[in-house]
């Protein structure tokens, strides 16, 4: 209405959206180039996608540099774009790097695997890039509409990736289950968001938080606000596969192509966490007295169900699916501790560290499982990994490192994730929760050792060598290096996690989070 276009779209907006624009352009580029490539050259699409991820990372770095300059001038380190609907703070930048690393490793794992499955198509890589765009919207969105669009962009890309093995019945079934349950949860989530919009009259996260705080002071037991909280939380907990909204995870993880399973268990989950933290800590912070008991219940249920179900699995992907549910339980405990008013934000820092180390160690474990897939062997049962030590000692030793790290044995990366969560629980006085979590950690050790036992002590069932490729080797090298380096030199990474939470919130947000 007579407003100049500059009011809607400035050069700052352009800079802030650059990482996403890069990925979207390269994603479409992959689709076009794919049409021109002969069948035996299809793997070149992976390189295009990796270059796109590299450009996107460079754009994120550019924003990080701008943040450093702004800090030198004494300004807060968060940029607001698109009239307040996009906030690129350090929290978002940290997650951007995490998504890009997860996607790059997953692409490296996929090249050979897709060839063995005879499904080497450019769409695969384009969908991975598009899903990262969605994740970035989820991590940096400061408007519930943008958050929701990001969520759907990521989810729809992932549904297709899960069902990418068209000729495999398991893959199709998994995709359909994931699609149906995911659609329900998105619907419930959208319902919750619409109630918050109704309560506050705004779609901006900060504005909703301000209105909720006032609303809650005058009307502390408003049933509408509680209903909105419950439905929103349901949608968020579904995305990170917390009990009782976890049933989709084992089926989807088992049926999906192994590299996609790895990708889903780290990057997609991290995106869910980014959105969950953004909503719980920024938007719903005024309601924390209501949601903390709920999170305690959910985290205990998640730990119990995830760990007990993992004990009896004979399929590697299913076992790791349940173990990834259990890991979500530990991270939720960090949210419980981080919400205690007397405690520092050790709990939230613990979640950030946990997500980082989990990316490396879990993708590494899935990279080893990917190498077990041969022409006529599906290779995801515990029996298939038996005797790996005699066939491929390097892979077996790396797998052992990843498993011990997942179990949380020092001096590997996984230890620091658990250490910070437990520390935050003790700092905030949740001694009973810390004790329960330690017991479950030992139980976790048992089922990881089961895999190690099969690998090291049992004879091989088939003499066929594992399917290695340069991409997979690189993925294994990166993940192993990450797992060991974070374990031995945790300082750098802990500082990065602390940095991601060091935004002076008041500049863009309310001063709610201490």
């Amino acid at each position: 209405m007579g407003t100049p276009i500059q009011h809607f779209f400035t050069s700052t907006d352009c800079l802030l959206a650059l990482p996403m624009i890069m990925l979207a352009l390269f994603g479409m580029g992959v689709l076009i180039i794919d049409l021109m490539l002969p069948a035996e050259w299809k793997r070149a699409n992976a390189w295009t996608a990796l270059v796109g991820l590299g450009f996107s990372a460079a754009a994120v770095y550019k924003i990080q540099v701008a943040d450093r300059i702004a800090e030198a001038h004494g300004q807060g380190g968060s940029f607001v774009g698109f009239a307040g609907s996009l906030v690129l703070d350090r929290f978002a930048i940290y997650f951007f790097y995490l998504f890009l690393a997860g996607a790059a490793i997953a692409i490296l794992m996929s090249v050979k695997y897709l060839e063995i499955e005879r499904e080497q198509h450019g769409e695969f890589y384009a969908l991975v890039l598009f899903s990262v765009v969605g994740m970035m919207c989820m991590a940096s969105g400061y408007d519930i509409v943008l958050l929701f669009i990001g969520l759907e962009l990521m989810a729809i890309s992932t549904y297709v990736l899960v069902g990418f093995l068209r000729r495999s019945q398991r893959s199709n079934e998994a995709a359909l289950k994931y699609l149906l349950l995911g659609a329900f949860s998105s619907g419930i989530f959208a319902y919750g968001l619409s109630l918050f919009y109704g309560l506050s009259g705004s779609t901006n996260v900060g504005q909703i938080a301000r209105t909720l705080e006032e609303h809650f002071r005058t009307n502390p037991k408003d049933p509408i606000a509680i209903l909105a909280l419950l439905t929103t939380a349901t949608g968020l907990l579904f995305k990170i596969a917390a009990v009782p909204f976890h049933q989709w995870a084992p089926d989807a993880y088992e049926g999906a192509p192994t590299s996609v399973t790895g990708y889903m268990s780290v990057a997609v989950k991290a995106a869910g966490w980014a959105m969950l933290l953004r909503i719980f800590l920024y938007m719903l912070y005024p309601l924390r007295s209501i949601y903390v008991p709920m999170i305690i219940f959910v985290s205990l249920a998640t730990l119990t169900a995830g760990n007990l179900a993992a004990l009896t699995q004979s399929n590697l992907k299913r076992l790791l699916a349940y173990s990834s549910i259990a890991h979500v339980g530990y991270m939720l405990l960090g949210l419980v501790a981080g919400n205690n008013e007397n405690a520092s934000s050790t709990g939230i820092k613990g979640i950030m560290v946990y997500l980082l180390v989990y990316t490396f160690m879990n993708l590494g474990a899935f990279a080893v499982i990917t190498s077990l897939r041969r022409r006529d062997i599906i290779g995801d049962e515990i029996d298939d990994i038996a005797g790996l030590m005699f066939k491929a000692p390097t892979e077996a030793i790396l797998m052992l490192v990843f498993l011990l790290s997942l179990a949380g044995i020092p001096p590997l990366a996984g230890f620091w994730g658990k250490y910070y969560i437990f520390l935050s629980l003790i700092e905030s006085g949740h001694y009973a929760l810390a004790a329960v979590a330690v017991l479950f950690a030992v139980l976790g050790l048992y089922y990881y050792l089961r895999i190690a036992n099969a690998m090291l002590m049992r004879p091989a069932e088939s003499a066929e060598p594992v399917a290695m490729s340069p991409g997979l080797r690189l993925a294994l090298a990166i993940t192993a290096l990450g797992t060991v380096a974070i374990g031995i030199f945790p300082e750098i990474f802990l500082r990065a996690a602390a940095w991601s939470l060091s935004v002076p919130q008041a500049s863009a947000v309310l001063g709610l989070l201490k």
């Binding site: 089926d251 007990l308 050790l445 050792l449 036992n453």
Partner: protein
């Protein structure tokens, strides 16, 4: 694709008891090792035996856990 449900109800609790025992093996061994170390420290007026006891306890816990894994896995075959 979904696994057949683990039917027998009586069995479930037996399994649960067996696994919950597993969860306690490592912490219990660690604790017992530490306690023995502390008591020896008091008796012999030393200051480092508690650490040795702690380490012995942790190692004993791990050994027991690994032995259970190997035993259970062997039974399944």
């Amino acid at each position: 694709m979904p696994e057949p449900p683990q039917s027998s109800n009586g069995n479930f609790f037996v399994t649960l008891a067996r696994y919950s025992q597993l969860a306690f093996v490592l912490p219990a061994a660690t604790f017992v090792g530490w306690i023995i170390g502390v008591l020896l420290d008091r008796w012999l007026h030393t200051t480092w035996l508690y650490l040795a006891g702690l380490i012995v306890g942790i190692i004993a816990g791990f050994v027991e856990l690994i032995r259970t894994v190997v035993k259970n896995e062997g039974k399944d075959e």
